[in-house]
Amino acid sequence: MGVIVYAIALGFAGGILAGLFGVGGGILFVPTLTLGLGLTQLHAEASSLLAIIPTVVAGTWRQARYGNVRWRPAAMLGVAAVGGVEAGVAVAESLPQDVLRRLFGALMVLIALQIAWRVLRR
C-alpha cells in the first residue's frame, strides 16, 4: 500500500517535471519502477516509455493551448527518432544491465555539465 502511494506521488512529480521542462518524466519513472516497484532495469525502461505516453498527451495538449508547440519540428524530431529508437532497443538488449545503469549515469552528468556551462556563459 505504501509502495503504491509512493509510486503515485512520484508519478505525479514526474509529470510536473515533464510539463515544466519538456522531458518525458522517465528520469523519475525509471528509478520509481526499479527501486519502488522492484522491476528490473530493462522492464523499468520499457514500462517507463509506456507511462510517458499519457504524460506527454496531457502536457502537449496544454502546451498547444498556450501556443508553444512547433508542430513541424516536433514531427521531424519524432519521426527521425524512430531509427534511433530501433538502434537503442537493440543495444539495450545486448548490454549487461549494470553497464546500462552506468551509461545512464554518465549521460546525466554530461548533459548537466553542458547546461550549466551554457547558463554560466550567458
Binding site: L20, V23, G24, G78
Partner: protein
C-alpha cells in the same frame, strides 16, 4: 537537417535509457536550433509522444512491458503534466533554463555519488 540529427540522437538515448529523449532534445533545440525555452520544451514534449509510442511498441514485441506499473505512474503523471505546463507558462525563460540546469546537475551528482 539538424532537427533530423537531433531526432535520431534523442530516439537512440530514449530507447537505451528509458527516458523520453527530452534531456537530449531540449538542450540541442536551445543550443543548435535557436529555440527559446518554452517552445523548445513544448516541442520536445510533443516529439517525445512519437518517440515513446514507437519505443513502447518495440519493447512490447520483446515482452518487456509491465502495463499495470506503467499506468500506476503514467496516469498521475498526466495530471502532474497539466500542473507543470501551467507553472511553466508563468515562469521567465531564464529562470526555466537555470532550473533545468539545476535539475540535471542534481541528477548527475546523485548518480555520481
Amino acid at each position: 537537417m539538424r532537427l533530423l540529427l537531433i531526432g535520431v540522437l534523442a530516439g537512440f538515448f530514449s530507447a537505451l535509457f528509458g527516458v523520453g529523449g527530452g534531456v537530449v532534445m531540449v538542450p540541442l533545440l536551445l543550443l543548435a536550433c535557436g529555440f527559446s525555452e518554452r517552445p523548445a520544451m513544448a516541442t520536445s514534449l510533443a516529439a517525445i509522444g512519437i518517440i515513446a509510442g514507437v519505443g513502447t511498441v518495440s519493447y512490447a514485441f520483446h515482452g518487456e512491458l509491465k502495463p499495470g506499473a506503467a499506468m500506476l505512474i503514467g496516469l498521475p503523471a498526466a495530471a502532474g503534466a497539466i500542473v507543470g505546463t501551467a507553472v511553466q507558462q508563468r515562469v521567465r525563460n531564464r529562470t526555466l533554463s537555470i532550473a533545468f540546469a539545476g535539475l540535471l546537475l542534481g541528477l548527475g551528482v546523485k548518480l555520481l555519488v
